[in-house]
Symmetry: C2
Subunit: 273 residues, 2 copies
Protein backbone atom coordinates (compact mmCIF):
# COMPACT_ATOMS: atom_id res chain seq x y z
CA UNK A 1 0.00 0.00 0.00
CA UNK A 2 1.61 3.22 -1.14
CA UNK A 3 -0.21 5.48 1.28
CA UNK A 4 1.05 4.63 4.74
CA UNK A 5 -0.03 6.69 7.70
CA UNK A 6 3.40 8.23 8.04
CA UNK A 7 3.81 9.23 4.40
CA UNK A 8 0.93 11.68 4.49
CA UNK A 9 1.11 12.83 8.09
CA UNK A 10 2.39 16.21 7.00
CA UNK A 11 -0.95 17.01 5.42
CA UNK A 12 -3.06 14.83 7.70
CA UNK A 13 -5.60 17.00 9.52
CA UNK A 14 -5.63 14.76 12.58
CA UNK A 15 -2.06 15.88 13.23
CA UNK A 16 -2.99 19.51 12.68
CA UNK A 17 -5.97 20.19 14.91
CA UNK A 18 -5.99 23.85 14.01
CA UNK A 19 -6.62 22.91 10.39
CA UNK A 20 -9.78 21.05 11.24
CA UNK A 21 -11.11 23.96 13.22
CA UNK A 22 -11.02 26.06 10.08
CA UNK A 23 -14.26 26.08 8.22
CA UNK A 24 -14.40 23.86 5.18
CA UNK A 25 -16.80 26.11 3.34
CA UNK A 26 -15.63 29.56 2.41
CA UNK A 27 -18.27 31.79 3.93
CA UNK A 28 -17.99 33.95 7.00
CA UNK A 29 -21.73 33.82 7.49
CA UNK A 30 -21.78 30.07 7.18
CA UNK A 31 -18.74 29.79 9.41
CA UNK A 32 -20.40 31.62 12.27
CA UNK A 33 -23.62 29.68 11.92
CA UNK A 34 -21.87 26.34 11.58
CA UNK A 35 -19.57 26.99 14.49
CA UNK A 36 -22.56 27.72 16.72
CA UNK A 37 -24.54 24.68 15.65
CA UNK A 38 -21.53 22.38 15.83
CA UNK A 39 -21.06 23.16 19.49
CA UNK A 40 -24.73 22.72 20.30
CA UNK A 41 -24.94 19.47 18.37
CA UNK A 42 -21.87 18.06 20.04
CA UNK A 43 -23.27 18.81 23.47
CA UNK A 44 -26.62 17.29 22.61
CA UNK A 45 -25.02 14.15 21.25
CA UNK A 46 -22.94 13.64 24.35
CA UNK A 47 -26.06 12.91 26.36
CA UNK A 48 -28.56 11.32 24.02
CA UNK A 49 -29.02 10.34 20.36
CA UNK A 50 -30.36 13.23 18.29
CA UNK A 51 -34.15 12.94 18.21
CA UNK A 52 -36.04 13.79 15.06
CA UNK A 53 -36.55 17.52 14.84
CA UNK A 54 -40.12 18.26 15.89
CA UNK A 55 -42.17 20.49 13.59
CA UNK A 56 -41.47 24.05 14.61
CA UNK A 57 -44.52 25.54 12.99
CA UNK A 58 -42.34 28.25 11.44
CA UNK A 59 -41.58 26.68 8.06
CA UNK A 60 -43.25 24.20 5.75
CA UNK A 61 -44.04 20.78 7.19
CA UNK A 62 -42.99 18.37 4.47
CA UNK A 63 -44.05 14.75 4.79
CA UNK A 64 -42.71 11.96 2.60
CA UNK A 65 -44.65 8.71 2.63
CA UNK A 66 -42.47 5.61 2.64
CA UNK A 67 -43.90 2.19 1.91
CA UNK A 68 -42.36 -1.20 1.32
CA UNK A 69 -40.52 -1.35 -2.01
CA UNK A 70 -40.18 2.36 -2.84
CA UNK A 71 -37.27 3.40 -5.06
CA UNK A 72 -34.55 5.06 -2.97
CA UNK A 73 -34.01 8.24 -4.99
CA UNK A 74 -37.74 9.05 -5.22
CA UNK A 75 -38.01 10.27 -1.62
CA UNK A 76 -34.37 11.17 -0.98
CA UNK A 77 -33.78 13.47 -3.98
CA UNK A 78 -36.69 15.76 -3.10
CA UNK A 79 -35.88 15.47 0.63
CA UNK A 80 -32.38 16.82 -0.03
CA UNK A 81 -33.81 19.81 -1.92
CA UNK A 82 -36.81 20.58 0.28
CA UNK A 83 -34.86 20.24 3.54
CA UNK A 84 -32.95 23.40 2.54
CA UNK A 85 -36.10 25.54 2.49
CA UNK A 86 -36.01 28.07 5.32
CA UNK A 87 -37.29 26.50 8.56
CA UNK A 88 -38.56 23.43 6.72
CA UNK A 89 -39.11 20.14 8.48
CA UNK A 90 -38.86 16.97 6.41
CA UNK A 91 -40.43 13.93 8.02
CA UNK A 92 -40.32 10.40 6.65
CA UNK A 93 -43.66 8.77 7.40
CA UNK A 94 -44.93 5.22 6.95
CA UNK A 95 -47.80 3.03 8.03
CA UNK A 96 -45.66 2.15 11.03
CA UNK A 97 -42.52 3.78 12.42
CA UNK A 98 -39.18 2.18 11.69
CA UNK A 99 -36.97 1.10 8.82
CA UNK A 100 -38.69 0.82 5.45
CA UNK A 101 -36.89 -1.12 2.72
CA UNK A 102 -36.46 -0.09 -0.89
CA UNK A 103 -37.30 -2.16 -3.94
CA UNK A 104 -33.83 -3.75 -3.98
CA UNK A 105 -34.13 -4.89 -0.37
CA UNK A 106 -30.60 -3.64 0.30
CA UNK A 107 -31.31 -0.22 1.76
CA UNK A 108 -33.71 1.15 4.36
CA UNK A 109 -34.69 4.66 5.38
CA UNK A 110 -36.21 5.21 8.80
CA UNK A 111 -39.83 6.35 9.03
CA UNK A 112 -39.79 8.74 12.00
CA UNK A 113 -43.56 8.89 12.28
CA UNK A 114 -46.49 6.60 11.59
CA UNK A 115 -49.40 7.87 9.52
CA UNK A 116 -51.52 7.83 12.69
CA UNK A 117 -49.16 10.39 14.22
CA UNK A 118 -49.38 12.90 11.35
CA UNK A 119 -52.62 14.80 10.78
CA UNK A 120 -51.47 17.90 8.91
CA UNK A 121 -48.83 18.56 6.28
CA UNK A 122 -48.02 21.53 4.10
CA UNK A 123 -46.42 19.31 1.48
CA UNK A 124 -47.12 15.63 0.94
CA UNK A 125 -44.82 13.65 -1.33
CA UNK A 126 -45.61 10.11 -2.45
CA UNK A 127 -42.63 8.33 -4.01
CA UNK A 128 -42.78 5.61 -6.61
CA UNK A 129 -41.74 2.00 -6.41
CA UNK A 130 -41.30 -1.14 -8.42
CA UNK A 131 -44.33 -3.13 -9.44
CA UNK A 132 -44.71 -4.91 -6.10
CA UNK A 133 -44.39 -1.77 -4.03
CA UNK A 134 -46.66 0.30 -6.23
CA UNK A 135 -49.42 -2.30 -6.25
CA UNK A 136 -48.97 -2.67 -2.51
CA UNK A 137 -49.52 1.03 -1.91
CA UNK A 138 -52.36 1.30 -4.45
CA UNK A 139 -54.30 -1.40 -2.64
CA UNK A 140 -53.50 -0.31 0.92
CA UNK A 141 -56.67 1.43 2.03
CA UNK A 142 -55.04 2.75 5.22
CA UNK A 143 -52.43 4.60 3.14
CA UNK A 144 -54.93 5.80 0.52
CA UNK A 145 -57.30 7.10 3.12
CA UNK A 146 -54.48 8.91 4.95
CA UNK A 147 -53.34 10.44 1.64
CA UNK A 148 -56.89 11.69 0.96
CA UNK A 149 -57.09 13.10 4.48
CA UNK A 150 -53.72 14.88 4.20
CA UNK A 151 -54.66 16.24 0.79
CA UNK A 152 -57.63 18.10 2.28
CA UNK A 153 -55.25 20.54 3.96
CA UNK A 154 -51.96 20.37 2.07
CA UNK A 155 -50.61 23.32 0.21
CA UNK A 156 -49.02 20.93 -2.27
CA UNK A 157 -49.73 17.24 -2.84
CA UNK A 158 -46.98 15.69 -4.91
CA UNK A 159 -45.65 12.44 -6.31
CA UNK A 160 -42.57 11.04 -7.99
CA UNK A 161 -42.53 8.24 -10.57
CA UNK A 162 -45.28 5.66 -9.98
CA UNK A 163 -46.31 7.65 -6.91
CA UNK A 164 -48.81 9.27 -9.28
CA UNK A 165 -50.50 5.87 -9.61
CA UNK A 166 -50.90 5.88 -5.84
CA UNK A 167 -52.39 9.39 -5.94
CA UNK A 168 -54.68 8.20 -8.73
CA UNK A 169 -55.69 5.16 -6.71
CA UNK A 170 -56.59 7.53 -3.90
CA UNK A 171 -58.85 9.33 -6.35
CA UNK A 172 -56.88 12.54 -6.38
CA UNK A 173 -56.08 12.68 -10.09
CA UNK A 174 -59.59 12.28 -11.53
CA UNK A 175 -59.93 14.53 -14.57
CA UNK A 176 -56.44 15.93 -14.15
CA UNK A 177 -53.26 16.19 -16.17
CA UNK A 178 -50.34 14.34 -14.64
CA UNK A 179 -47.08 12.63 -15.39
CA UNK A 180 -45.55 9.37 -14.18
CA UNK A 181 -42.73 6.94 -14.92
CA UNK A 182 -42.39 6.57 -18.68
CA UNK A 183 -43.14 2.85 -18.61
CA UNK A 184 -46.28 3.39 -16.52
CA UNK A 185 -47.90 6.08 -18.66
CA UNK A 186 -50.06 3.62 -20.57
CA UNK A 187 -51.27 2.01 -17.36
CA UNK A 188 -52.03 5.39 -15.80
CA UNK A 189 -54.18 6.61 -18.69
CA UNK A 190 -55.93 3.30 -19.35
CA UNK A 191 -56.81 2.75 -15.70
CA UNK A 192 -57.67 6.23 -14.48
CA UNK A 193 -59.34 9.35 -15.77
CA UNK A 194 -55.98 11.08 -16.21
CA UNK A 195 -54.36 12.88 -19.13
CA UNK A 196 -50.66 11.94 -19.25
CA UNK A 197 -48.16 14.63 -20.17
CA UNK A 198 -44.58 13.53 -20.94
CA UNK A 199 -43.01 16.31 -18.86
CA UNK A 200 -40.50 16.26 -15.98
CA UNK A 201 -43.28 17.51 -13.71
CA UNK A 202 -46.87 18.57 -14.18
CA UNK A 203 -48.87 20.90 -12.00
CA UNK A 204 -52.63 20.57 -11.82
CA UNK A 205 -54.08 22.84 -9.16
CA UNK A 206 -52.22 22.03 -5.98
CA UNK A 207 -51.13 18.62 -7.21
CA UNK A 208 -47.68 18.27 -8.76
CA UNK A 209 -46.60 14.96 -10.25
CA UNK A 210 -43.08 14.16 -11.42
CA UNK A 211 -41.80 11.71 -14.01
CA UNK A 212 -39.55 8.80 -13.08
CA UNK A 213 -37.19 8.61 -10.11
CA UNK A 214 -34.65 11.40 -10.79
CA UNK A 215 -37.41 13.79 -11.97
CA UNK A 216 -38.28 14.28 -8.33
CA UNK A 217 -35.21 16.51 -8.00
CA UNK A 218 -36.40 18.80 -10.79
CA UNK A 219 -39.89 18.86 -9.32
CA UNK A 220 -38.56 19.64 -5.85
CA UNK A 221 -36.72 22.69 -7.18
CA UNK A 222 -39.94 23.80 -8.85
CA UNK A 223 -41.80 23.28 -5.56
CA UNK A 224 -39.10 25.22 -3.74
CA UNK A 225 -39.71 28.14 -6.09
CA UNK A 226 -43.46 27.94 -5.49
CA UNK A 227 -42.97 27.85 -1.72
CA UNK A 228 -40.09 30.29 -1.23
CA UNK A 229 -39.54 32.08 -4.53
CA UNK A 230 -37.15 31.72 -7.43
CA UNK A 231 -34.12 33.20 -5.65
CA UNK A 232 -34.32 30.65 -2.85
CA UNK A 233 -34.84 27.80 -5.30
CA UNK A 234 -31.78 28.92 -7.26
CA UNK A 235 -29.72 29.11 -4.08
CA UNK A 236 -30.81 25.56 -3.19
CA UNK A 237 -29.82 24.40 -6.67
CA UNK A 238 -26.36 25.87 -6.09
CA UNK A 239 -26.26 24.46 -2.56
CA UNK A 240 -26.61 20.94 -3.97
CA UNK A 241 -24.46 21.83 -7.01
CA UNK A 242 -27.19 20.62 -9.34
CA UNK A 243 -25.62 21.35 -12.68
CA UNK A 244 -26.34 17.97 -14.21
CA UNK A 245 -23.93 16.59 -16.77
CA UNK A 246 -24.57 12.88 -17.17
CA UNK A 247 -21.99 11.06 -19.28
CA UNK A 248 -24.72 9.88 -21.65
CA UNK A 249 -27.94 11.29 -23.08
CA UNK A 250 -30.10 8.23 -22.57
CA UNK A 251 -32.65 9.31 -19.98
CA UNK A 252 -35.46 10.42 -22.30
CA UNK A 253 -37.81 7.54 -23.10
CA UNK A 254 -39.27 9.32 -26.12
CA UNK A 255 -35.82 9.10 -27.73
CA UNK A 256 -34.99 5.55 -26.60
CA UNK A 257 -35.31 2.55 -28.87
CA UNK A 258 -37.19 -0.60 -27.91
CA UNK A 259 -34.02 -2.49 -27.06
CA UNK A 260 -32.84 0.14 -24.57
CA UNK A 261 -36.27 0.27 -22.96
CA UNK A 262 -36.36 -3.48 -22.60
CA UNK A 263 -32.85 -3.50 -21.11
CA UNK A 264 -33.80 -0.75 -18.63
CA UNK A 265 -36.90 -2.61 -17.43
CA UNK A 266 -34.94 -5.85 -17.22
CA UNK A 267 -32.27 -4.23 -15.02
CA UNK A 268 -35.01 -2.86 -12.77
CA UNK A 269 -36.77 -6.21 -12.55
CA UNK A 270 -33.54 -8.06 -11.81
CA UNK A 271 -32.50 -5.63 -9.08
CA UNK A 272 -35.80 -5.73 -7.24
CA UNK A 273 -36.90 -8.19 -4.59
CA UNK B 1 -63.20 18.27 -0.36
CA UNK B 2 -64.05 17.59 -3.98
CA UNK B 3 -62.69 14.05 -4.04
CA UNK B 4 -64.89 12.00 -1.73
CA UNK B 5 -64.42 8.27 -1.52
CA UNK B 6 -67.66 7.59 -3.37
CA UNK B 7 -66.99 9.97 -6.27
CA UNK B 8 -63.99 8.06 -7.55
CA UNK B 9 -64.94 4.51 -6.69
CA UNK B 10 -65.55 3.75 -10.35
CA UNK B 11 -61.85 4.07 -11.14
CA UNK B 12 -60.58 2.97 -7.74
CA UNK B 13 -58.34 -0.07 -8.15
CA UNK B 14 -59.26 -1.43 -4.75
CA UNK B 15 -62.71 -2.07 -6.16
CA UNK B 16 -61.23 -3.69 -9.28
CA UNK B 17 -58.76 -6.29 -8.07
CA UNK B 18 -58.10 -7.52 -11.61
CA UNK B 19 -56.72 -4.11 -12.53
CA UNK B 20 -54.07 -4.25 -9.87
CA UNK B 21 -52.91 -7.66 -11.02
CA UNK B 22 -52.00 -6.18 -14.38
CA UNK B 23 -48.42 -5.16 -14.63
CA UNK B 24 -47.75 -1.48 -14.24
CA UNK B 25 -44.72 -1.48 -16.49
CA UNK B 26 -45.18 -2.35 -20.11
CA UNK B 27 -42.70 -5.16 -20.59
CA UNK B 28 -43.38 -8.83 -20.96
CA UNK B 29 -39.92 -9.67 -19.69
CA UNK B 30 -40.31 -7.43 -16.68
CA UNK B 31 -43.82 -8.74 -16.09
CA UNK B 32 -42.67 -12.31 -15.80
CA UNK B 33 -39.73 -11.44 -13.57
CA UNK B 34 -41.77 -9.15 -11.37
CA UNK B 35 -44.62 -11.60 -11.03
CA UNK B 36 -42.22 -14.27 -9.79
CA UNK B 37 -40.44 -12.04 -7.31
CA UNK B 38 -43.70 -10.55 -6.02
CA UNK B 39 -44.93 -13.96 -4.94
CA UNK B 40 -41.64 -14.89 -3.32
CA UNK B 41 -41.35 -11.58 -1.52
CA UNK B 42 -44.89 -11.78 -0.20
CA UNK B 43 -44.26 -15.25 1.21
CA UNK B 44 -41.00 -14.18 2.81
CA UNK B 45 -42.57 -11.14 4.41
CA UNK B 46 -45.35 -13.20 5.95
CA UNK B 47 -42.87 -14.90 8.26
CA UNK B 48 -40.04 -12.46 8.97
CA UNK B 49 -38.82 -8.98 8.06
CA UNK B 50 -36.71 -8.97 4.91
CA UNK B 51 -33.06 -9.28 5.92
CA UNK B 52 -30.41 -7.36 4.04
CA UNK B 53 -29.42 -9.19 0.92
CA UNK B 54 -26.12 -10.95 1.61
CA UNK B 55 -23.32 -10.44 -0.89
CA UNK B 56 -23.74 -13.05 -3.57
CA UNK B 57 -20.22 -12.88 -4.91
CA UNK B 58 -21.61 -12.72 -8.44
CA UNK B 59 -21.74 -8.95 -8.95
CA UNK B 60 -19.92 -5.91 -7.62
CA UNK B 61 -19.95 -5.43 -3.85
CA UNK B 62 -20.66 -1.75 -3.41
CA UNK B 63 -20.16 -0.25 0.04
CA UNK B 64 -21.31 3.23 1.01
CA UNK B 65 -19.89 4.67 4.20
CA UNK B 66 -22.39 6.58 6.30
CA UNK B 67 -21.30 8.80 9.14
CA UNK B 68 -23.08 11.30 11.36
CA UNK B 69 -24.10 14.40 9.41
CA UNK B 70 -23.75 13.19 5.81
CA UNK B 71 -25.92 14.87 3.17
CA UNK B 72 -28.80 12.61 2.17
CA UNK B 73 -28.44 12.70 -1.62
CA UNK B 74 -24.68 11.99 -1.54
CA UNK B 75 -25.09 8.28 -0.74
CA UNK B 76 -28.64 7.74 -2.03
CA UNK B 77 -28.21 9.13 -5.56
CA UNK B 78 -25.31 6.80 -6.38
CA UNK B 79 -26.99 3.93 -4.50
CA UNK B 80 -30.04 4.23 -6.77
CA UNK B 81 -27.84 4.06 -9.88
CA UNK B 82 -25.35 1.42 -8.75
CA UNK B 83 -28.02 -0.89 -7.32
CA UNK B 84 -29.23 -1.47 -10.90
CA UNK B 85 -25.89 -2.95 -12.01
CA UNK B 86 -26.31 -6.64 -12.76
CA UNK B 87 -26.02 -8.71 -9.56
CA UNK B 88 -24.78 -5.72 -7.58
CA UNK B 89 -25.08 -5.55 -3.83
CA UNK B 90 -25.26 -2.10 -2.23
CA UNK B 91 -24.50 -2.05 1.48
CA UNK B 92 -24.77 0.97 3.74
CA UNK B 93 -21.92 0.77 6.25
CA UNK B 94 -21.07 2.84 9.31
CA UNK B 95 -18.82 2.71 12.34
CA UNK B 96 -21.70 0.94 14.06
CA UNK B 97 -24.83 -0.69 12.63
CA UNK B 98 -28.09 1.21 12.86
CA UNK B 99 -29.70 4.47 11.86
CA UNK B 100 -27.30 7.24 10.83
CA UNK B 101 -28.68 10.78 10.71
CA UNK B 102 -28.12 13.32 7.98
CA UNK B 103 -26.87 16.87 8.40
CA UNK B 104 -30.41 18.19 8.92
CA UNK B 105 -31.10 15.71 11.72
CA UNK B 106 -34.50 14.95 10.19
CA UNK B 107 -33.70 11.84 8.19
CA UNK B 108 -31.80 8.62 8.87
CA UNK B 109 -30.65 5.79 6.64
CA UNK B 110 -29.89 2.42 8.20
CA UNK B 111 -26.31 1.16 8.20
CA UNK B 112 -26.71 -2.57 7.63
CA UNK B 113 -23.13 -3.39 8.52
CA UNK B 114 -20.45 -1.99 10.78
CA UNK B 115 -17.00 -1.30 9.38
CA UNK B 116 -15.70 -4.21 11.46
CA UNK B 117 -17.98 -6.54 9.50
CA UNK B 118 -16.78 -5.48 6.04
CA UNK B 119 -13.28 -6.43 4.92
CA UNK B 120 -13.56 -6.33 1.13
CA UNK B 121 -15.41 -4.12 -1.33
CA UNK B 122 -15.31 -3.75 -5.07
CA UNK B 123 -16.54 -0.17 -4.87
CA UNK B 124 -16.21 2.12 -1.86
CA UNK B 125 -18.16 5.37 -1.86
CA UNK B 126 -17.60 8.07 0.75
CA UNK B 127 -20.34 10.72 0.79
CA UNK B 128 -19.96 14.32 1.83
CA UNK B 129 -21.47 16.18 4.73
CA UNK B 130 -21.85 19.58 6.27
CA UNK B 131 -18.95 21.09 8.15
CA UNK B 132 -19.58 19.17 11.38
CA UNK B 133 -19.96 15.82 9.67
CA UNK B 134 -16.99 16.29 7.37
CA UNK B 135 -14.65 17.32 10.20
CA UNK B 136 -16.01 14.42 12.25
CA UNK B 137 -15.13 11.91 9.55
CA UNK B 138 -11.77 13.53 8.73
CA UNK B 139 -10.67 13.17 12.34
CA UNK B 140 -12.13 9.71 13.00
CA UNK B 141 -9.10 7.44 12.80
CA UNK B 142 -11.24 4.29 12.87
CA UNK B 143 -13.03 5.40 9.71
CA UNK B 144 -9.85 6.63 8.00
CA UNK B 145 -8.00 3.46 8.73
CA UNK B 146 -10.92 1.34 7.45
CA UNK B 147 -11.04 3.47 4.27
CA UNK B 148 -7.31 2.91 3.73
CA UNK B 149 -7.74 -0.81 4.31
CA UNK B 150 -10.70 -1.08 1.89
CA UNK B 151 -8.82 0.96 -0.70
CA UNK B 152 -6.05 -1.66 -0.85
CA UNK B 153 -8.42 -4.05 -2.62
CA UNK B 154 -11.18 -1.95 -4.18
CA UNK B 155 -11.69 -1.78 -7.87
CA UNK B 156 -12.94 1.79 -7.45
CA UNK B 157 -12.62 4.11 -4.47
CA UNK B 158 -14.99 7.03 -4.82
CA UNK B 159 -16.37 10.08 -3.10
CA UNK B 160 -19.14 12.64 -3.45
CA UNK B 161 -18.94 16.29 -2.37
CA UNK B 162 -16.76 16.79 0.72
CA UNK B 163 -16.22 13.03 0.79
CA UNK B 164 -13.05 13.85 -1.14
CA UNK B 165 -11.78 15.69 1.95
CA UNK B 166 -12.26 12.46 3.87
CA UNK B 167 -10.35 10.52 1.22
CA UNK B 168 -7.65 13.20 1.39
CA UNK B 169 -7.53 12.96 5.18
CA UNK B 170 -7.00 9.23 4.76
CA UNK B 171 -4.01 10.05 2.57
CA UNK B 172 -5.50 8.63 -0.60
CA UNK B 173 -5.40 11.78 -2.72
CA UNK B 174 -1.74 12.75 -2.28
CA UNK B 175 -0.42 14.08 -5.58
CA UNK B 176 -3.69 13.44 -7.36
CA UNK B 177 -6.27 15.42 -9.31
CA UNK B 178 -9.67 15.47 -7.68
CA UNK B 179 -12.87 17.42 -7.36
CA UNK B 180 -15.05 18.32 -4.38
CA UNK B 181 -17.90 20.59 -3.36
CA UNK B 182 -17.41 24.00 -4.99
CA UNK B 183 -17.20 25.80 -1.65
CA UNK B 184 -14.58 23.37 -0.34
CA UNK B 185 -12.18 23.52 -3.27
CA UNK B 186 -9.98 26.15 -1.64
CA UNK B 187 -9.77 24.14 1.57
CA UNK B 188 -8.94 20.96 -0.33
CA UNK B 189 -6.05 22.45 -2.28
CA UNK B 190 -4.65 24.54 0.59
CA UNK B 191 -4.71 21.63 3.03
CA UNK B 192 -3.70 18.66 0.90
CA UNK B 193 -1.39 17.89 -1.96
CA UNK B 194 -4.29 17.78 -4.40
CA UNK B 195 -4.97 19.49 -7.72
CA UNK B 196 -8.62 20.57 -7.84
CA UNK B 197 -10.47 20.24 -11.12
CA UNK B 198 -13.88 21.93 -11.41
CA UNK B 199 -15.50 18.93 -13.10
CA UNK B 200 -18.60 16.88 -12.24
CA UNK B 201 -16.29 13.93 -11.54
CA UNK B 202 -12.59 13.31 -11.82
CA UNK B 203 -10.86 9.99 -12.26
CA UNK B 204 -7.32 9.52 -11.00
CA UNK B 205 -6.23 5.92 -11.26
CA UNK B 206 -8.85 3.91 -9.46
CA UNK B 207 -10.08 6.88 -7.46
CA UNK B 208 -13.08 8.80 -8.72
CA UNK B 209 -14.21 11.95 -6.92
CA UNK B 210 -17.45 13.81 -7.64
CA UNK B 211 -18.40 17.44 -7.15
CA UNK B 212 -21.16 18.48 -4.76
CA UNK B 213 -24.17 16.39 -3.70
CA UNK B 214 -26.07 15.83 -6.97
CA UNK B 215 -22.83 15.20 -8.91
CA UNK B 216 -22.78 11.76 -7.33
CA UNK B 217 -25.51 10.72 -9.76
CA UNK B 218 -23.43 11.70 -12.78
CA UNK B 219 -20.39 9.98 -11.29
CA UNK B 220 -22.37 6.83 -10.57
CA UNK B 221 -23.44 6.59 -14.20
CA UNK B 222 -19.81 6.98 -15.21
CA UNK B 223 -18.85 4.26 -12.72
CA UNK B 224 -21.62 2.05 -14.10
CA UNK B 225 -20.11 2.42 -17.55
CA UNK B 226 -16.64 1.52 -16.23
CA UNK B 227 -18.00 -1.52 -14.42
CA UNK B 228 -20.57 -2.86 -16.88
CA UNK B 229 -20.13 -0.95 -20.14
CA UNK B 230 -21.81 1.98 -21.82
CA UNK B 231 -24.95 0.10 -22.89
CA UNK B 232 -25.73 -0.93 -19.33
CA UNK B 233 -25.03 2.56 -18.01
CA UNK B 234 -27.38 4.02 -20.62
CA UNK B 235 -30.07 1.51 -19.70
CA UNK B 236 -29.69 2.50 -16.03
CA UNK B 237 -29.99 6.14 -16.99
CA UNK B 238 -33.28 5.36 -18.74
CA UNK B 239 -34.37 3.13 -15.85
CA UNK B 240 -34.16 6.13 -13.50
CA UNK B 241 -35.42 8.50 -16.23
CA UNK B 242 -32.39 10.73 -15.71
CA UNK B 243 -33.06 13.35 -18.35
CA UNK B 244 -32.44 16.32 -16.07
CA UNK B 245 -34.37 19.51 -16.73
CA UNK B 246 -34.14 21.72 -13.66
CA UNK B 247 -36.38 24.79 -13.76
CA UNK B 248 -33.35 27.04 -13.31
CA UNK B 249 -29.74 27.08 -14.46
CA UNK B 250 -28.17 27.98 -11.13
CA UNK B 251 -26.15 24.90 -10.19
CA UNK B 252 -22.78 25.90 -11.60
CA UNK B 253 -20.70 27.79 -9.02
CA UNK B 254 -18.38 29.21 -11.68
CA UNK B 255 -21.36 31.11 -13.09
CA UNK B 256 -22.87 32.14 -9.73
CA UNK B 257 -22.44 35.60 -8.26
CA UNK B 258 -21.26 36.21 -4.69
CA UNK B 259 -24.77 36.88 -3.42
CA UNK B 260 -26.13 33.57 -4.69
CA UNK B 261 -23.17 31.70 -3.22
CA UNK B 262 -23.66 33.36 0.15
CA UNK B 263 -27.38 32.57 0.07
CA UNK B 264 -26.67 28.92 -0.81
CA UNK B 265 -24.22 28.48 2.06
CA UNK B 266 -26.56 30.26 4.45
CA UNK B 267 -29.43 27.92 3.54
CA UNK B 268 -27.13 24.96 4.13
CA UNK B 269 -25.93 26.30 7.46
CA UNK B 270 -29.46 27.07 8.64
CA UNK B 271 -30.77 23.64 7.69
CA UNK B 272 -28.02 21.73 9.44
CA UNK B 273 -27.90 20.63 13.06
Amino acid sequence: MSHSTSSHSATHPATHPTTTRRNLLRSTVATAALAATTTAATEARATTPTPPTPPTGKGPRIGILLYDGYSLLDPTGPAEILSRLPDATVTMIAERRGAVRTDTGDVAVVAERSIAEVDRLDVLLVPGAGNRGTVGAMTNEALLSWIREMHRHTRWTTSVCTGSLVLAAAGLLDGREATTYWASAEYLTSTFDVTYLPERYVRSGKIVTAAGVSAGIDMALYLASLIAGDDTAKAIQLAVEYDPRPPFDAGDATKADAQLKERALQLLADSQV
